[in-house]
C-alpha cells in the first residue's frame, strides 16, 4: 500500500480514493498551487485534510461561511483530530488571545475572511510554520460568483506575506470567468487545475411550467403525498416554508420547516431528525443544506426559479450522494423570472445607495448589512463612477443569467446538456433517466409512497427515556 492510501485508510477509514482525489493531493504535497472544482459530496474536504498529515506545519483554511466552518471542525473532530480550531467572530477577545498564544499547537486552523485583517492573528501566523493555505468556497471570491463575499477579496493582500506558501482553492461550481478570478485573486502561479464533471448522472431533471401558485401547490402536495422521499422542498420565504410544512403535516407527512430565523438549537434538531430519518421531508429556504450529511436524499423540489444557476446546481446536488437514482423537479410560472430577479436584487446597491456610500462614512445604519459591507469594500478601491458602472454590469449579468435559467427550463432542449454547457462542459454520456425534455418515466425513478407512517401516539417520557438510555 502506498503512503497516501495508508493515511486514507488509517485516518479516514476509506479503502480507495475517488476520481481525481489522489492527483490533487499529490500536487498539494509537491508544493504546487491547485484549483479543484468538484461537485458537492465528492469528497472535497479530504483534499485539504489528508495532505496535512504528510506535511509539516499547520493547514490554514479560509472559509467564508461560518456555518460551514463549524461543520468542518465537527467533522475533523469526529475523525479523532483534536488539533482543530475555528477563529472567527464567535470567539471572545480572551478566547482569541488564548488561541493566538497557542497557535502552533493546532494542525488545522479555520478562519473567516474578516479575521485576515486582524493584526494579532497575522502576527501569530507569521511565527508558525504553515504547510499550505486553503481557500474554501473559492467562488465567493469572484464578483461573478453567486455568493460573492467582498471580505474574501481581502485575501489577495493578505496572501502577499505568504508568497512562498502554496494555495489550494476549492469550490463546487465555477464558470471559466470565476476560475479566472480565483486564480488572479489568489496570486496563483501556473496552478494545477482539476475540474471534475459537474454532471450527476443519478439525478434526473424535471421542469414543470404551471399557470399559477395554486397549481404549484396542488402539484407539490400531490407529488409528495404519492411518492417517496427523503426530500427537500426549496422555497423562497420563511412564511412559505411554514405554509408547505403545515399543509403536508395535515396530510400525514413527517415534515418540518427550516429557515434562518429559527433558534439555533431547533435548527440543529431538525437537521438531525432529517439525517436520522425521523423526518421524510424538509421545507426550507436556501439556508438549509450546508453541512447536511445525508446520502439517500431522493427528491429535490423547487417551487421557484433560483437566483443563479450555480446555486441551483448546489441545491440539486444534495440528492443522490449514494449514487442511487433520484429526481430534481422545478415548478415555475411565467412571472417567476421577475420574482427571481427581484429576490436577487434585494441586497443589491441602487445608484442612490452608492451615492450615499461615497458621501457618508457611516452607512451601516442606513443600508442593509450586506449592501453596506459590499459598498464599504468597493469604496476603498474604486471611484464612485466606477462602482456605479460595476454594479450596472453585474446587474445586467444577473438578469442575463436568470433569463438563461428560465430559457433552459422552458425551451425544448435537454436540461442536463444546457446546465453543463453553462459551465463550459459537454455531456458525454446521457443517462437513461435524463430530463423531462428527453425522456422521463417518473414511476421508474421514484417509488410510490408507502402508507402514511406518521403516528401520533401520546408522549410518554418513560418510554422515550428507555429509548435514549439503557437500564
Amino acid at each position: 500500500m502506498d503512503k497516501l492510501t495508508k493515511v486514507l485508510t488509517n485516518k479516514f477509514g476509506y479503502d480507495s480514493f475517488r476520481e481525481g482525489q489522489k492527483e490533487i493531493i499529490e500536487h498539494v504535497i509537491a508544493g504546487q498551487d491547485v484549483v479543484a472544482i468538484l461537485p458537492t459530496g465528492m469528497g472535497k474536504s479530504l483534499l485539504y485534510q489528508l495532505p496535512g498529515y504528510l506535511m509539516e506545519g499547520a493547514v490554514v483554511i479560509v472559509s467564508p461561511l461560518l456555518s460551514l466552518m463549524q461543520d468542518q471542525v465537527e467533522q475533523l473532530k469526529m475523525l479523532g483530530e483534536k488539533r482543530v480550531v475555528a477563529i472567527n467572530s464567535f470567539l471572545s477577545f480572551e478566547q482569541k488571545e488564548m488561541v493566538f498564544r497557542n497557535l502552533s499547537t493546532y494542525k488545522f486552523i479555520f478562519t473567516s475572511p474578516e479575521m485576515l485583517q486582524n493584526e494579532r492573528f497575522n502576527h501569530a501566523l507569521s511565527s508558525i510554520r504553515i504547510a499550505y493555505i486553503v481557500a474554501d468556497e473559492a467562488h465567493c471570491i469572484s464578483q461573478w460568483g453567486f455568493d460573492f463575499r467582498p471580505d474574501y477579496l481581502r485575501i489577495a493582500k493578505w496572501l502577499q506575506q505568504f508568497r512562498q506558501t502554496n494555495v489550494l482553492a476549492l469550490t463546487a461550481t465555477a464558470t471559466s470567468n470565476v476560475v479566472k478570478d480565483i486564480k488572479s485573486t489568489l496570486l496563483m502561479r501556473e496552478p494545477y487545475e482539476y475540474i471534475h464533471s459537474l454532471d450527476r448522472p443519478a439525478i434526473a431533471y424535471e421542469a414543470v411550467e404551471v399557470e399559477n401558485t395554486q397549481e404549484k401547490l396542488a402539484w407539490i402536495l400531490g407529488r409528495i403525498t404519492s411518492t417517496s422521499g427523503p426530500g427537500i422542498l426549496y422555497t423562497q420565504s420563511r412564511k412559505k416554508t411554514e405554509m408547505y410544512a403545515n399543509e403536508l403535516q395535515k396530510r400525514g407527512i413527517r415534515v418540518a420547516y427550516y429557515h434562518a430565523k429559527m433558534d439555533q438549537d431547533d435548527r440543529i434538531l431538525v437537521q438531525q431528525q432529517f439525517q436520522q430519518g425521523q423526518l421524510e421531508w424538509i421545507c426550507a429556504t436556501n439556508a438549509f443544506g450546508m453541512g447536511i450529511h445525508k446520502d439517500n436524499i431522493r427528491q429535490i423540489i423547487h417551487d421557484h426559479i433560483p437566483t443563479s444557476i450555480a446555486s441551483y446546481m448546489q441545491e440539486v446536488g444534495r440528492a443522490a450522494r449514494d449514487g442511487v437514482q433520484s429526481i430534481a423537479s422545478l415548478l415555475f410560472t411565467a412571472t417567476d423570472v421577475e420574482q427571481a430577479f427581484y429576490v436577487a436584487m434585494q441586497d443589491f446597491p441602487e445608484e442612490a445607495d452608492i451615492r450615499l456610500a461615497y458621501k457618508s462614512d457611516n452607512i451601516q445604519l442606513q443600508l442593509p448589512e450586506t449592501t453596506a459591507r459590499i459598498l464599504e469594500y468597493w469604496k476603498e478601491v474604486l471611484t464612485e463612477q466606477e462602482t456605479t458602472n460595476l454594479f450596472q454590469t453585474i446587474k445586467q449579468k444577473k438578469w442575463t443569467e436568470i433569463l438563461r435559467l428560465y430559457t433552459i427550463l422552458q425551451n425544448g432542449v435537454c436540461i442536463r446538456e444546457q446546465l453543463l454547457h453553462y459551465f463550459d462542459e459537454q455531456l458525454t454520456t446521457r443517462p437513461v433517466h435524463c430530463c423531462s425534455k428527453c425522456s422521463l418515466h417518473i414511476n421508474e425513478i421514484i417509488d410510490n409512497r408507502k402508507q402514511p407512517t406518521e403516528n401520533r401516539e401520546e408522549l410518554d417520557w418513560k418510554m422515550q427515556l428507555d429509548k435514549l438510555l439503557r437500564s
Binding site: 463549524q70 465537527e74 469526529m78 475523525l79 403535516q249 418540518a256 429559527m262 433558534d263 439555533q264 438549537d265 431547533d266 440543529i268 434538531l269 431538525v270 438531525q272 431528525q273 436520522q276 425521523q278 401520533r456 408522549l459 410518554d460 417520557w461 418513560k462 422515550q464 427515556l465 429509548k467 435514549l468 438510555l469 439503557r470 437500564s471
Partner: protein, 344 residues
C-alpha cells in the same frame, strides 16, 4: 395562555403602581436600578430575568390580548389587573420560578445534561462518533471533564445515571407535561429531540408557552438537586447560580461604601449624579439585608414609612410623603425596600 397567566400574576403583583413596560423589563432581566429595586419592592424575584430573549413585539401582542379580554386596564403611566383578570389567576396554578438566582443560566445546566445524555446514549450503542447537539465549547469542555472524572463507559455508570434521572423526574412537584418536555427535548442514538414547534403542536400551545413550561421544569428540578441526593447532577449546577446579583456600577459603589465613603463623595469620585448613587444604595440594600442604612434613615423613620404604606395600602412615593413630609423620596424608597425584606 400560560404566558398570559404569568403576565397577569406579575401585573397583579405590581399593584397598579407601574407602567405597562415594567413587566417586560422584569422578564428580560433589565439591570437598571428601577427594575432591580422593583423586584424587592413587589417581591418579584421568581420572574426576574426569566426570559431574556423576550421580544418586545411578542410581549406587546400578549398585552393587547389581555386588554381585549378585559383582564387588565391601562393608561399612560400604569397597568393594572381587573376583577375579571383576578378571577382568572385565583383559579390557576401558581408557577414555580427562581429567575432572580438563575437568570437564564438554567440553560447551561440543560446544555450539560443534554450533551451527557447524548454521549451516554451513543456510547451505549457503540457509536462513538457523533455530532453533538450542543455547539458551545465551554459545555464540551465541561462535559468532557465531568465524564472523564467518572467511569462513564462502564454500564453501571449509565444505568445509575438513568436511574437518578428517572427518580428526579418522578418528583411530585412536576407536572406530566414538564417531564415530557424534558425528556423529548433530549437527543441520543438514532433519536433526535423534538423542536419547540413540534412540542407546541403536540400540546396545542404556543412555542412561548412551551418554552416557559420547560424553564419552569428546569427551575423545579434545580431546586430539588442537592449534593446529598443527586451528587452527579449537583456537579452540573456548577456556576449557574448568580453569585453577585449587583449591576457592575452598583458593585463599584458598594466597594466605595465599604471603605466608608459617603454618597456625595462617591458621586464625586465616580463622576456620577448623587441620584445614581442613591439608586445603587437601593439596589445594594435589596440584595444585602446587612448593609447598614442608619446613616441614611433611622429605624423609627423606617417604621413610620412602613406604617403609612400599610395604612394607605400603597407604595406610591407621593402619597406616602404626604404623611412624612420631612423625608426625601430616597429615604422613603429605602424604607420600602427594607420593609419588603422584613416581610419577604
Amino acid at each position: 395562555m400560560y404566558f398570559q397567566q404569568l403576565l397577569l400574576l406579575i401585573i397583579h403583583q405590581f399593584q397598579g403602581e407601574r407602567s405597562s413596560t415594567a413587566p417586560y423589563y422584569l422578564l428580560k432581566g433589565k439591570k437598571s436600578g428601577q427594575t432591580i429595586q422593583d423586584v424587592t419592592y413587589f417581591n418579584l424575584h421568581p420572574y426576574f430575568c426569566l426570559y431574556p430573549k423576550l421580544a418586545k413585539e411578542t410581549y406587546d401582542d400578549e398585552i393587547v390580548k389581555l386588554l381585549t379580554q378585559n383582564f387588565i386596564v391601562m393608561n399612560e403611566s400604569t397597568i393594572s389587573i381587573t376583577e375579571k383578570g383576578l378571577h382568572q389567576i385565583v383559579s390557576s396554578r401558581r408557577p414555580y420560578y427562581n429567575g432572580y438566582k438563575l437568570r437564564g443560566k438554567e440553560f447551561v445546566f440543560w446544555g450539560r445534561m443534554e450533551l451527557i445524555v447524548q454521549t451516554l446514549s451513543q456510547f451505549q450503542e457503540n457509536e462513538k462518533k457523533f455530532v453533538p447537539v450542543q455547539k458551545s465549547n465551554e459545555i464540551h469542555q465541561f462535559v468532557k471533564e465531568f465524564l472523564h472524572q467518572r467511569d462513564f463507559q462502564s454500564s453501571s455508570f449509565g444505568t445509575n445515571f438513568k436511574h437518578q434521572l428517572s427518580d428526579l423526574l418522578e418528583n411530585p412537584h412536576l407536572l406530566e407535561i414538564h417531564r415530557n418536555l424534558f425528556v423529548y427535548r433530549l437527543s441520543g442514538y438514532k433519536n433526535s429531540g423534538l423542536t419547540w414547534e413540534q412540542l407546541a403542536t403536540r400540546y396545542h400551545m404556543t412555542v412561548l408557552d412551551v418554552k416557559l413550561l420547560f424553564i419552569e421544569c428546569l427551575h423545579i428540578l434545580l431546586n430539588e438537586i442537592t449534593e446529598e441526593k443527586y451528587p452527579d447532577f449537583h456537579a452540573l449546577t456548577k456556576n449557574i447560580y448568580v453569585q453577585n446579583p449587583l449591576t457592575d456600577s452598583a458593585l463599584k459603589s458598594s466597594k466605595l461604601f465599604e471603605k466608608g465613603y459617603s454618597i456625595e463623595a462617591i458621586a464625586r469620585i465616580r463622576f456620577l449624579k448623587e441620584n445614581t448613587i442613591e439608586d445603587h444604595v437601593i439596589e445594594i440594600v435589596s440584595v444585602d439585608p446587612n448593609f447598614p442604612i442608619q446613616s441614611f434613615i433611622s429605624d423609627e423613620q423606617v417604621q413610620k414609612v412602613l406604617q403609612i404604606a400599610q395604612e394607605r395600602q400603597t407604595k406610591k412615593l407621593k402619597i406616602i410623603r404626604e404623611g412624612v413630609p420631612d423625608l426625601s423620596y430616597f429615604q422613603i424608597r429605602l424604607a420600602l425596600t427594607k420593609g419588603e425584606e422584613v416581610n419577604g
